[in-house]
Assembly symmetry: C2
Homo-oligomer: 162 residues x 2
DNA sequence: CAAATATGATTAGCCTCCCAAAGTATTTAA
DNA sequence: TTAAATACTTTGGGAGGCTAATCATATTTG
């Protein structure tokens, strides 16, 4: 019966997941943005110019979903749509000043809670944590994963895998 | 500007979050349950007897939400409702055989991916990871958090905090 | 060039999630 | 025995996701 740190580790991991999830909601309320909206807005602003399909593939959402979310962002005045000249099938999304503002106020779901306190740790602790997370990445099969999103949500994909 | 392991650490953390989230959806498809349904079902089964309000407070959901989810679980034949004798306002929720089956097939969102591989790590690595996660818990303010849920999702709470 | 095909985005329709407020039934307290 | 509290459900609503179908524009090809 070795030590079995497996369970406490899982619990800690769960706490972290839970915390980030709650944080994501809380932050959303303060910004007035939902997590998904945040994601999309960030993605748009990060590129300055962005087509829905680009956002969709970056976030691994369907185009339709992006249309949906962007609808709301436009309604809130955080994003504008503009037909591309080069290819009139395309739509260019831009963050408005208000949109950039909203992002600035809510810098990053994790980052805000994270950076300062992490920086205050001893170097060896930082290194240990990083190493541990990399290991966990490996364990969870997350090594080669896009780093784009933070956390999102949603209905279940019921397409038969087979 | 010392080393700044902050960014790679955040990225690793994001990968992990992302991985668990995707895993949660994938597992849901195989089970035919959504993450929320899994949560509720687990909570019900874990107590053998459970009232909606108990589940709601454990998972920090509203009663209405639980009613909703339970509706679907009942519809799927995984859970039964039964009026309590002692207090006829109460409803007792029970997992059916099928419900327990479903849970058994999908033991745990993380656990499945996790336990074996984690166990195969050296003891010192396990200890390191645990310590790191505890530290992270602290950083993210997740120490005193319920361990109940895994991950869920959903619409944003728009009630004014003030 | 014209027809067929491909691509980008939206629309429509479906389901889930989560909530607050109102409603119903039951229990407890006055 | 009425009033208040409790436990759950109903109702209604906003958001998040998806697929399939549609519309408009581009590209390819005969």
């Amino acid at each position: 019966m070795e030590s079995d740190l497996s369970n406490p580790t899982l619990q800690a991991l769960r706490r972290i997941l839970r915390a980030t999830e709650i944080g994501s909601r809380k932050l959303a309320t303060t910004t007035g943005l939902t997590p998904s909206q945040m994601l999309v807005l960030r993605e748009i602003e990060g590129r300055d110019q962005a087509t829905p399909s680009a956002i969709a593939s970056a976030l691994k959402f369907s185009q339709a979903t992006i249309t949906n979310v962007v609808d709301r962002l436009v309604l809130s005045g955080l994003v504008t749509r503009e037909r591309s000249d080069r290819d009139k099938r395309q739509i260019m999304l831009h963050a408005t000043a208000a949109g950039r503002d909203a992002l600035a106020c809510a810098p990053d779901l994790l980052q805000s809670q994270f950076t300062d306190r992490f920086a205050s740790l001893a170097a060896w602790e930082q290194a240990m944590i990083l190493a541990s997370l990399e290991k966990l990445s490996l364990i969870l099969g997350a090594q080669d994963m896009d780093v784009a999103p933070l956390l999102d949500s949603g209905a279940i994909d019921r397409t038969e895998p087979g």
